[in-house]
């Protein structure tokens, strides 16, 4: 699926939904729970579950990145699957919380 900044994706096998905050605008094999993610308009896989090696789950409000930060996905709905590109899992983008300033 071609993913650009602003694209919405949903998991085929759990409740996870994400928005691409940063994306190269190319075809990418973005997965959740080990299964390619869907456009929000597509139907979910009946009875599908995340594969064992991609089932740590997603957390709402966290941003997920690949190792060289070419893509950044914001989790807008949490679920049981883990996000990945191909077989490589994405990691939570660690950010230092800042004191409220406005």
């Amino acid at each position: 699926m071609e993913v650009r900044a602003g694209s919405r994706l949903k998991s085929a096998v759990c409740n996870t939904e994400v928005i691409a905050v940063k994306a190269p605008g190319e075809d990418m094999d973005i997965r959740c729970g080990g299964v390619p993610m869907l456009d929000p308009s597509e139907a979910k896989t009946e009875g599908g579950t995340p594969s064992d090696d991609a089932s740590d789950g997603t957390q709402m409000g966290k941003r997920y990145v690949d190792s060289d930060e070419t893509i950044e996905l914001l989790c807008t709905k949490p679920g049981d699957g883990s996000l990945g590109i191909g077989d490589a899992l994405l990691a939570i983008k660690e950010s230092k919380p800042l004191p409220a300033s406005d």
């Binding site: 602003g6 694209s7 709402m60 941003r63 950010s95 800042l98 004191p99 409220a100 406005d102």
Partner: protein
């Protein structure tokens, strides 16, 4: 990307929390705010205009209009309700056709004569969008759509409209605010007006953090304190003049003092050191945060955090103590660099122009394009320096630099020195035309004790700290200094006052 993402997440993550209003149950929840923004987006779309403008003080209509505009794909344009009729009309003409959400009849009449301006009162806007179907969440996700246009308070010429696109504001929030990072009992008091970038940023960051918004439309120190107590406010953002009045009010009336404040952030202008020191003493349990930012950078780019305040306040090392007057360290999500006139980076400790680069940086003005360098840096026109540990010292607008005998002198440096004098409460330094030097330095100070004020003694004090070429040629005692309502020192007013005074003397 769209600002609505932030509100959608808030309503789905913690829809029952109160988003805005009183803790007595009369406020709007995040779900209410989402629903009403949806209905209002339909309402705004039906107006067939190109901009949604907001000519009103703070009220719950502000976040509804801001998010409804984002939902409907129309730029949101807050207008300064303190402007004169003519100024306001010329701004309105630049954004027609526009639909204006306004305070009462008086303000509406100011711009209703302009062609293609439709107006409605904010309470009617809220009433008309309270019931009805909520549209599908089909807002535009193109990150380059315009979210907000903010007219900057230009000191010369026509005000410029800074363009903030959805990508800028969303990047700023995602990079600096933790989703649902606020505890359920947290409330923030917003007393900056909607036409200030901090007023817009406050809506977005509070909603994403899940912190209840309490609004004070017209600042008054007593009212502010009263509202903090009544609403058990935990967070507040103030400009320096506000903090100064709050401190004075608390000194006058020490029993009427809030004890719920966990954090006070300040910014928008230079904070006189005696004010922040008194405030630290008055609120020993409160975290203080100094934020520096510009309209063109989607608000904050640098923060002096609570720990920095405490360390600087308690330190005996003058280098560390000095940091109380700094803007802290740049946000980790962006870069700050100090450049000389040729755009070359200068060493730590050397003053130059503050440049900034990052996803939240727009640096764009409507009709003038982006004022960014080829590699994405925005020259802020603010002077400043970074110290060896990376603390940013802001020295004021480059245009305000005084050129005396060919030497560039930052008024900020002189003002910082003046403020260290025990008898000076507030100070400003400006350059005045002079036949011998080009410009001379005139210091305008507010003494705590007028009787004890001595021009010679203050000159001597500055000379002991700075080079003699940076010692004011004149020191004048005043009762007050002119600030605008968002805490910016009006140097132009001071200069004009000095020039007309000079004319009448001659």
């Amino acid at each position: 990307m769209n600002l609505m993402m932030l509100l959608e997440m808030a309503s789905s993550g913690f829809g029952d929390r109160v988003a805005i209003g009183s803790r007595d149950g009369s406020g709007m929840t995040y779900q209410d705010l989402y629903d009403q923004s949806g209905r209002a987006s339909d309402y705004l779309r039906q107006q067939n205009v190109e901009h949604i403008s907001f000519l009103a003080e703070s009220s719950p209509a502000l976040p509804v209009a801001l998010f409804a505009a984002a939902w409907s794909g129309l730029p949101f344009v807050p207008l300064n309700y303190r402007l004169q009729g003519g100024e306001l009309q010329s701004l309105a003409e630049r954004i027609t056709p526009t639909f204006t959400i306004s305070d009462g009849a008086e303000l509406q009449s100011l711009i209703s004569d302009v062609d293609d301006v439709q107006t409605t009162a904010w309470h009617r806007f809220l009433n008309d969008t309270r019931k009805g179907a909520i549209p599908e969440p089909t807002w535009n996700m193109d990150p380059d759509e315009i979210a907000v246009l903010l007219f900057t308070s230009g000191t010369t010429g026509d005000p410029k409209a800074a363009v903030l696109r959805h990508s800028h504001l969303v990047s700023y929030i995602l990079g600096s605010v933790e989703f649902m990072g606020a505890d359920e009992d947290e409330a923030t008091l917003v007393s900056v007006p909607p036409y200030h970038v901090a007023g817009i940023a406050a809506m977005c960051s509070s909603i994403y953090a899940g912190r209840r918004i309490v609004q004070l439309p017209f600042f008054d120190a007593y009212e502010w304190i009263d509202l903090v107590i009544k609403e058990e406010v935990t967070h507040a953002m103030v400009v320096p003049t506000m903090l100064s009045r709050i401190v004075e009010e608390l000194e006058k009336n020490p029993s009427h003092k809030p004890d719920t404040l966990r954090a006070i952030s300040y910014g928008g202008g230079k904070m006189p050191r005696p004010v922040i020191e008194k405030a630290l003493n008055l609120f020993p349990a409160t975290n203080f945060v100094n934020a520096y930012g510009l309209t063109e950078t989607s608000s904050t780019i640098s923060v002096l955090g609570p720990e920095d305040h405490r360390v600087a306040f308690e330190s005996s090392d003058p280098e560390v103590r000095k940091r109380l007057a700094s803007a802290g360290k740049p946000l980790p999500t962006l870069e700050v660099s100090i450049r000389d006139e040729n755009g070359n980076e200068v060493e730590a400790g050397v003053s130059g122009e503050i440049w900034v680069r990052g996803e939240q940086v727009s640096g764009e003005y409507l009709g003038h394009g982006k004022r960014l360098t080829a590699d994405g840096w925005f020259p802020t026109n603010d002077g400043g320096a970074l110290d060896l540990d990376g603390y940013l010292f802001v020295e004021g607008r480059i245009d305000d630099i005084i050129i005396r005998g060919g030497e560039n002198i930052s008024p900020g440096e002189i003002e910082d020195t003046l403020l260290q004098h025990p008898n000076i409460r507030d100070a400003a330094a400006v350059g005045m035309p002079d036949t011998q030097w080009g410009e001379i330095i005139v210091a305008l100070v507010i003494p705590s004790d007028t009787e004890a004020f001595s021009e010679d003694e203050i000159k001597k004090f500055v000379k002991e700290h700075l080079r003699s070429s940076r010692t004011p040629d004149k020191v004048i005692a005043l009762d007050e200094l002119p600030y605008n309502e968002t805490g910016k020192l009006l140097r132009r007013v001071l200069k004009e006052g000095l020039i007309s005074q000079g004319d009448s003397e001659e």
